[in-house]
């Protein structure tokens, strides 16, 4: 697992970690059953607060991506495509709706949001 913290990135540190772990699962670098470092170890290595790492792990557990159990290292859990694609699409739509509402509240126009979406989709294809 490779985690890097970018201080110039406006996103919260825990979110940077969550996104990087998900990205590595998507690329196949992290596989089901792979272990993750303990909260304390990761926080020490990155020079950040333990609560930040814990928040990232909890977020990942809530999304069913990692398994967390007392006294054991966290492990990668979900790798398979969801069986119910309609439910997955509904969840993503709900999340996008929230993000798009935030974007509109920040003063972005629908065309600008569309442009961001297109750019991100292209980036994902090239990775």
């Amino acid at each position: 697992m490779l985690i890097s913290i970018d201080k110039n990135d406006a996103r919260p540190l825990y979110l940077q970690m969550v996104i990087q772990i998900k990205e590595q699962i998507r690329k196949g670098t992290l596989k089901q059953g792979d272990e993750l470092p303990s909260v304390r170890e990761l926080a020490k290595s990155l020079g950040i607060n333990m609560h930040t790492v814990r928040s990232a792990y909890i977020k990942l557990r809530e999304q069913g991506i990692i398994n967390l159990s007392l006294g054991r290292r966290a492990t990668i859990a979900r790798l398979n495509q969801p069986e119910d694609k309609r439910a997955a699409a509904a969840e993503i739509t709900a999340r996008l709706e929230e993000i798009m509402t935030d974007a509109l509240l920040m003063g972005l126009k629908p065309e600008e949001i569309q442009e961001i979406l297109n750019r991100q989709t292209e980036q994902l294809k090239n990775r």
């Binding site: 490779l2 303990s38 290595s45």
Partner: protein
């Protein structure tokens, strides 16, 4: 990717042939008596009776086990062969099977003769074992060398190195962390602990202090649970071991002279898995045969095994370059 077996098994043919011979020979001998001598003192006098089938079971069972172990070692060896080289481990089964078959053949002849003393068949054992070893060596000369089709070439790490260098410049922190914790290590750790604790309970009724030593030794096996963990940060490359993550290697990045991607042979180069020393290089790995080789400014050499050697190399390289 489907893993192809490489070793043509040639060197194990004599052991298998000897095993077939003893099965056929036993059948040809006809039914054995239900009770026969099974143990003798140093002078060859009988001191125990039992079923002669026990000897047959031990001979066949142990032969199959040792042929299996020898085939496994040979396959691991063949996967790492860069050029054809003789593997002494491949004679392991001939040695054991030769001894077992020689002993049991002598035992069958003894049963047939009806003598009261059993002269241990050293000469027969030497002849059978020697013949098997010579045949296996000849067959190894004939066996073809097959380059490993399972071999994976290292992928390019330039992009990742550049990406990390940028992050380092911007003052960000990073960590590469991975564990090598194969299932057999957990099994070994827990299994040995249970066996030794059970032995300690039994020993408690005989000698208490031996029981305590065995119990402590058994519990100490739990410390290997968890395997090896490699961590690379801006400051250091470290390898932790076991459930407590005790640091068995700690190298400051500014003390490192060079890093290279390497492929090694766990069996031929280091004689197994774990934390190994071959007289020149200290190695840390629990599985696989790829990793990075680190040379320090003082000239010390280390190998750290990895499931993702390219990533480990790129991160370690970026961390070391930062110090230069």
């Amino acid at each position: 990717m489907k893993i192809k077996l490489l070793h043509p098994l040639w060197t194990h043919v004599p052991a298998v042939a000897a095993l077939i011979f003893i099965i056929v020979y036993t059948i040809a001998m006809g039914p054995l008596p239900s009770v026969a001598p099974t143990h003798w003192d140093f002078h060859g006098n009988i001191n125990s009776y039992g079923s002669p089938n026990l000897g047959f079971g031990i001979t066949v069972g142990l032969s199959v086990l040792f042929i299996g172990i020898s085939v496994l070692f040979d396959e691991l060896w063949a996967r790492q062969e860069k050029k054809k080289k003789f593997n002494w481990f491949s004679l392991f089964d001939e040695l054991v099977v030769g001894f077992l078959v020689g002993s049991y053949t002598g035992y069958l002849q003894y049963l047939k003769s009806g003598d009261s003393t059993f002269p241990f068949p050293w000469v027969l054992i030497l002849i059978i074992t020697g013949t098997l070893l010579i045949l296996a060596r000849i067959l190894d000369v004939w066996r073809p060398y097959r380059p490993n089709p399972n071999k994976v070439v290292f992928s390019d790490t330039t992009t990742l190195e550049k990406e990390l260098a940028e992050k380092i410049k911007s003052g960000g922190s990073f960590v590469h962390w991975e564990s090598q914790n194969p299932w057999w290590l957990s099994l070994l750790s827990i299994g040995l602990t249970i066996i030794m604790l059970a032995a300690a309970v039994v020993a408690w009724f005989a000698i208490a202090w031996v029981s305590l030593v065995v119990a402590v030794a058994g519990l100490s096996m739990l410390f290997i649970y968890g395997g090896l963990q490699t961590t690379v940060t801006r400051q250091e490359i470290a390898v932790g071991f076991g459930i407590l993550g005790l640091k068995v290697l700690r190298l400051k990045t500014d003390e490192i002279e060079s890093i290279e991607l390497v492929e090694f042979s766990p069996i031929a180069d280091f004689g197994g898995y774990g934390i190994r020393w071959n007289g020149q290089i200290m190695a840390y790995y629990m599985r696989g045969s790829r990793g990075i080789k680190i040379t320090t400014i003082k000239g010390k050499k280390y190998i750290i095994g990895s499931d993702r050697p390219e990533e480990l190399y790129a991160v370690a390289q970026a961390a070391v370059n930062k110090s230069k």
